[in-house]
Structures are given as C-alpha cells and as structure tokens.
Amino acid sequence: MAAVATEVVTPTRMELLKLKHRVNLAQRGHDLLKEKMDALIIEFFEVLRRIGEARKSALKQLSLAYRALSVCSAVMGTIETRQASREAKRELEVEISTRHIMGIVVPTLEVERVERDALTRGYSLHTTPSVLDEVSKEFEKALGLLVKLAELEESARAIARELERTKRRVNALEYILIPRLKAALKFIEMRLDEMERENFSRLKRIKAMLEAGA
C-alpha cells in the first residue's frame, strides 16, 4: 500500500539528510518499542499464570473459612459470633511497597505473620469455644492468600494498560510514521535526481550553443 507523503518537503540535499536521520530514529525507536512489547507480553502471561493458581488456592481456602463460620454460628449462635468479632483484636497490617516493571509502578503487598495465636487474637482460650478459634485461623489463612492475589491482579491490570499503550505506539510507527517518512524520502530523492538530469541537459545545450557560436 503506497503511503502518501503528506509532508511538505523542499527537495534539497539538506532535507534529504534530515529525513534520513528521522527515518533511522523512527526505525530504531520502533525496534526498541517492539522489544518492550515482547517483554511486556512475557510479563503479562506470567502474571496471568500466577493469578490462575493464586485464585484457585485463595478460593478454596475462603470456602473452608466460610464453612468454619457456618459451624461456629450454628454452635455459638450468629449474634454471639458477631459480638465476638467486634471484640476481637483488629489491627492487622499489610506492608505495601512498590516494584517497577518497565515504566509501570506496581504495588507489592506483604502480611507479616497473619496467623496469630489465640492470645494475640484478643480473646482467652479458656472461655472461647474452639469453633471460634477455627474461624479466626481459617480466615487468617485465607487473608494471606487473598493479599497475594490482590497484588497479582493489580499488577495484571497495570501491565495490560502499558501493553496496550506500547502496542499503539509500535503500530503508529510501523503503519503511519515510517511509511510516511520513507515516501517523503523517496520523493526528495526522485526530485533531486530529476533536477540533476535537467541541469545536466541544460549544461549540454549551453555547451553546444557555445561551440556552435564559436
């Protein structure tokens, strides 16, 4: 498909050199961005693979936790269970930092020792039925897995966004800018050739006239 040179270019040697430089720059940029795109695709598929696994284990554990909660409500009573949850120690902290993947910043999440012992949970072992302790334990495990999943899902979204952007840039270069520059380059080269030929034949005519006159 022929790209139309929509740039106004004066056919001079100077312009030719400038254009050649621009084509090289655009070509180099295109190659680099394509490498970035390939690398982002690797990252994307890897994080998706991990999400698949993380989701499975998180959901499995969450089901166990919900089941433990059912059992507890049945044994202790729903109201009492909820009351206990209000009295429990609720100071869980998640350590959040950042990591970088090629121009995108992504959060990292870590929970220190989610699984606490009964004392830290805020209620006494003696007066608390083991069913309640079970609920805490199972939910603590679930929380650990969900925190990991949260980090992965957030990363996936960020990578996808950057991948789409990079793809758009690569395509703009490959299908718009570079063909346009190359067409303008061709136009100038042709014009310069033409001008040189015109010049050459004009000189020949002048020479012939001079020789005829002499």
Binding site: G29, L32, K34, A39, I42, S97, T98, H100, T108, A172
Partner: protein, 132 residues
Amino acid sequence: MNVDRVLKFELSRLNVHLPERRISLKEALESTKPQVATRDGSIHRFKREELDLLAKTVPEADWGRLHLPILIALDPKLGRGVARITGGAEAKVVGQILGKKSTGEELLIYRPEVAVVRRKLPTTTQYFFVPG
C-alpha cells in the same frame, strides 16, 4: 510532527524503571528493607524469596560482586528475541539458573530463557533497553 514527539517521549521513558545505583547481593541480604531508588523517583523493592534463592546459588565470597537488579539487556542490534546479561557474577548466576554454562563477562539468552529468568527472579532482574 506529533508522532515524533510521542516517539521521543516513549524512548526517554524506556529505562526509567532502572535504579540510579544498584546494590550488591550482600547489601540486600543485610538490609531489613532491600530496595533501590529508581530514576523516576520511586522505590523498587526486592522480594526476600528471591534474595534467598540467589544466596543459595551464589557462593558467599561472591555476594559482594553480584549487583542487583541483574540487567537483562535488550538490544535491537542483537536481533529480536535475544537478550544479553553483562557482568561476570551476573552472567554466572543466570547461567546456573538456566542450567547452561557461562564463561566470561557476558551471556546471551533467548526469549524462552528470558521468561524462565523473569519467572524465578521477578524483582531482582530488570530489562534494560539499549538505546544504541
């Protein structure tokens, strides 16, 4: 020309995720918050599991020589799908992880191997785009 400006902008952003200064494995292991400051002013944290893996793979005498993050250089001149690891200690440990021999200060690896390295060391390796 709008695309030109966009291109220049994207190219200037290519390596902005890299740190001003890398730290050695030894420094990272000794720190309670193993991380580096990146060129765009934020923090890149190294995950402990990866540092432990590296500590197991690299002899302790070399912990000061291995610098993090390990750079996976992408140079269009190498051709698409080829990456380069520079640095003796870095090339050695990547070679070990991939189960291939590395001699000298440089190691060339191919796309599927890059994927393996990134999978095992997601925060302790980074891509480096060679502007050339």
